[in-house]
Amino acid sequence: MSAFLIRRLIQSLAVIAIMSFLVYALIGLMPGDPIDIMIASDPKLTPDDAARLRALYGLDLPIGERYWNWLTAALGGDLGFSRTHSRPVLQVMGPHLERTLLLMGISFVLSAAIAIPLGVWAAARPYSLHDYAINLFSFAGRSAPPFWLALILIFVFAVWLGWFPAGGLETIGKGGFWDRLQYLVLPVLSLTLLNVAGFTRFVRAETMAVMRQDFIRTARAKGVSERGVLTGHALRNAMIPIVTIIALDFGTLFSGALITETVFAYPGMGKMIYDSILANDFNLALVGLLFATFVTLAANIGADVAYAVLDPRIALT
């Protein structure tokens, strides 16, 4: 097991190193730079100003040299300064990460808690009225554009009913746990509805596939209760692909949900990364994306370990 973990860790570091260069190069190769953006918003900037600012921000250097400068500084613990926030990258990222983790974490747990029983329930009674209803919900959920769903939730729960705030972090000047919770309800609901739809379909399909296996028939023949068959045999076996899906989605816990964050004016990682790419804020975009990559890789290693726990036939070597 430990040899496996060390090997995967080394592989992950190599992936991160390659990703750092690719991301840096891709952002750097996009047409335009931050100074072009400044010129667009301030026509009084002169060509001399533009040249001076490019030199000041190091944008006049070749992309390879810029990357090397960043890399050597990063290895020394300096991840750089965010141009669009005028603060060190880690200082900017910290609060965004915390908020995203809260939003996505709650939504993730709720999604799994709802989708797994719902999917198993549908699989237990395939082609019944319940199953059709759950399928309909899943298809509708998968088809609904996140942007549209978020706006509908705002109009229903914030504009018409007035139950929840339409967006933001907290009531300014009030704050506190309950207050923050109110602001989380709609974005969490929006994300959860979408995730539940996806997860449910997957759990249903996997459970149904397992339910057709010989060992299920054997378990039933042995007199195992239907609940025991579902939870002890079918679900456990169906969990392996489900864990894979959950592990792949785990990275989003830290990289955020761009559309939901934008519509609900929730300053999380998704919006931060998107804005930093658009504004050519190299340091922030790079660190944000690398962090998401790192978490996804770590979640994949975690999933591999989970396979071994769930299925004794799998050995990690």
Binding site: P31, G32, D36, M38, S41, D42, P43, K44, T46, P47, D49, A51, L53, L56, R83, T84, H85, S86, R87, P95, H96, A113, I114, P117, L118, W121, A124, R125, H130, F147, A150, L151, I154, F155, A158, V159, G162, W163, F164, P165, A166, G167, G168, L169, I172, G173, W178, D179, L181, Q182, V185, S225, R227, T262, V263, F264, A265, P267, K271, L278
Partner: protein, 580 residues
């Protein structure tokens, strides 16, 4: 056996149903627990404004962003600004220095590098009682500090031109100084550096290269000593909102609201939803809803809001690439102008709220001239011009030249900009009627502005907008020295490639004509050339929609780049609030 299995299945289903029911009950309880707080009556001693952009820095000198100007206008006051009637007025100074009133004097330098050249000496006096939020008076030292920061090449200040033009600041007393400009410029009294708190920022500037990373405006933005407006920033939540409270040391009329919150909602649909749900009170016209959204909202909620649509300085237009052999011919450019019905387009697309542009100068500007060639919709005139230019119509409806080449031009703009894409299609239809084949092409804004426009890579026509200022110097966009080329590293903004010796001469003359009455004829001729030569096809001036709750009074949109928040102390709330 079958019945037994069914029973077991039913039990399992019942258990799962129980789990789901429990989850639903718990969620409902949670909803009910947190919901009631939203129904509370809104307090009117605070105001929440919604905007769509978060500033990258709060340092007034670094970077240039509308969102920052909007917020800082509540917490700082510039020496001068254009008021709501587009007149240059003093805010921090006591009297506006002009050549006419003797506050500005033309001088000839008798020493140094400038020996023999003409410049200006301008006397400024800081308003009595002006204080920073920590009680320290605003002094000449603060102006000198700002000038030093602005001049330094490594301080990160975006536009250094005004600071470089100032060659000296001579201190007369704590509140009075003379600014010396190195040359004559008609905008001489708009170039004074606004004060920066030397007592708080000097340390950060010791290493100029590090200044933009050490400035107190970003490290300690709630420090009252950074501000001297009616409000001061009390808290910033990055990416979310900025809170402002009244500044205790403000010398002017006390502001009405005990707290102003500027919330950032990047998406305009969400901004509208927040407005309707009460998450924000007011959507700022400067950075708020789109015109479409505002007009739709007006139909639904006219009883709740006042709607002000203020046309201003954002000038939508089409640049012609004058190196294109077809567009080199002025008759073709004019035919294109006569061949489109801008008035009808504005009426249909913008309910007539965005006025048709005849030149690049807004009709609200004091230098705008009506004595220019205009191009009302006249397809017959357009056809005649094309005929005379050698483009004859054939049976297939298109026009061809003597070589048999079809009159075909490309029109480009930014992708994802719905209104521009709509305008493009309408123009294509109009021009098809006069036999011109228009190929439409869109590009992402980054590519379009990062290379296509700035490096003049558009083959024929490029549609976009310019943001201008009152009596803005046209050198950058119309002087022949400002044509971007590979040789000058693509600097300059004369993207059409317009060359006119008369225009060059007029611009040079304009720049050194200090009295407005002497400049007006020059401005008139510049606009006449612009309209006659048509290096650019004017479309319309964009209007900003201000959606203001009926209980809020005092907001008067300016139409120029200086924010309404410069007069935030006039804003009042209450049922009896009346628009001033």
């Amino acid at each position: 056996m079958r019945a037994h299995r069914r029973l077991r299945r039913t039990r399992a289903s019942a258990n799962l149903r129980g789990m789901i029911r429990t989850a639903i009950v718990l969620l409902t309880l949670l909803v009910l627990a947190v919901a009631p707080a939203q129904t509370q009556e809104k307090q009117r001693d605070g105001l929440t404004i919604g905007i769509t952009q978060f500033p990258s820095t709060f340092n007034p000198m670094i970077d240039s962003m509308l969102a920052k100007s909007y917020i800082l206008a509540m917490a700082r006051r510039p020496f001068v600004t254009f008021d709501r009637d587009w007149k240059l007025v003093c805010l921090l100074c006591e009297t506006l220095p002009t050549v006419e009133n003797g506050g500005a004097q033309v001088v000839t330098f008798d020493t140094g590098e400038l020996k023999g050249k003409q410049g200006l000496r301008i006397t400024w006096r800081i308003r009595e009682g002006a204080k920073w939020g920590d009680g320290r008076p605003v002094t000449v030292d603060d102006v000198v500090f700002a000038w030093r920061v602005g001049r330094h090449p490594q301080s990160g200040v975006a536009g250094r031109e005004p600071f470089l033009r100032t060659v000296a600041i001579e201190r007369i007393d704590e509140r009075t100084f003379v600014q010396v400009l190195d040359k004559l410029r008609y905008d001489y009294n708009q170039l004074v550096p606004d004060p920066m708190p030397a007592h708080l920022e000097t340390d950060a500037f010791r290493e100029p290269k590090e200044y933009r990373q050490r400035t107190a405006y970003d490290r300690d933005p709630a420090n009252p000593g950074l501000y001297y407006g009616p409000y001061r920033i009390s808290r910033i939540v990055s990416g979310s909102h900025v809170e402002l409270v009244p500044n205790e040391t403000w010398w002017g009329e006390p502001p009405s609201f005990k707290r102003i919150v500027v919330r950032v909602i990047g998406n305009t649909a969400a901004l509208e939803a927040n407005l309707r749900a009460g998450g924000i009170d007011y959507a700022a016209g400067e950075l708020g809803l789109s015109l479409d959204q505002a007009t739709a909202l007006q139909r639904r909620a006219a009883n709740r809001y006042r709607f002000i649509f203020k046309a201003g300085l954002i000038y939508e237009h089409i640049d012609f690439n004058l190196d294109n052999p077809i567009l080199k011919d002025r008759r073709v450019r004019r035919a294109l102008a006569y061949g489109m019905d801008r008035k009808r387009m504005s009426a249909q697309l913008f309910r007539g709220l965005q006025p048709v542009a005849d030149t690049n100068i807004s009709p609200l500007d004091q230098v705008a001239s009506k004595e220019v060639t205009t191009y009302p919709f006249d397809p017959k005139k357009a056809a005649a011009l094309l005929d005379s230019a050698g483009w004859k119509r054939r049976g297939d409806g298109w026009r061809y030249n003597a070589k048999g080449e079809r009159l075909s031009l490309s029109l480009m703009t930014t992708s994802g900009h719905r209104v521009r894409e709509q305008v493009m299609e309408i123009l294509q239809a109009y021009w098809r009627r006069i036999g011109i084949d228009i190929r439409l092409k869109t590009q992402p804004a980054r590519v379009y502005f990062g290379r296509t426009v700035t490096q003049r890579q558009f083959p024929a026509m490029a549609m976009y907008a310019w943001i201008s200022a009152p009596e803005s110097n046209p050198r950058g966009t119309l002087h022949s020295s400002e044509i971007p080329t590979a040789k000058n590293n693509w600097s300059g903004q004369n993207f059409p490639g317009f060359r006119s010796p008369e225009m060059d001469r007029l611009i040079e003359q304009l720049e050194v004509t200090l009295k407005l009455k002497d400049r007006l004829p020059i401005w008139r001729r510049i606009q006449q050339i612009y309209a006659e030569e048509l290096p650019v096809l004017p479309l319309y001036f964009r209007a900003n929609p201000y959606v203001i709750p009926r209980w809020l009074a005092g907001i008067r949109p300016t139409g120029h780049q200086f924010s309404t928040t410069l007069w935030v102390e006039d804003w009042r709330a209450g049922a009896d609030a009346k628009q001033r």
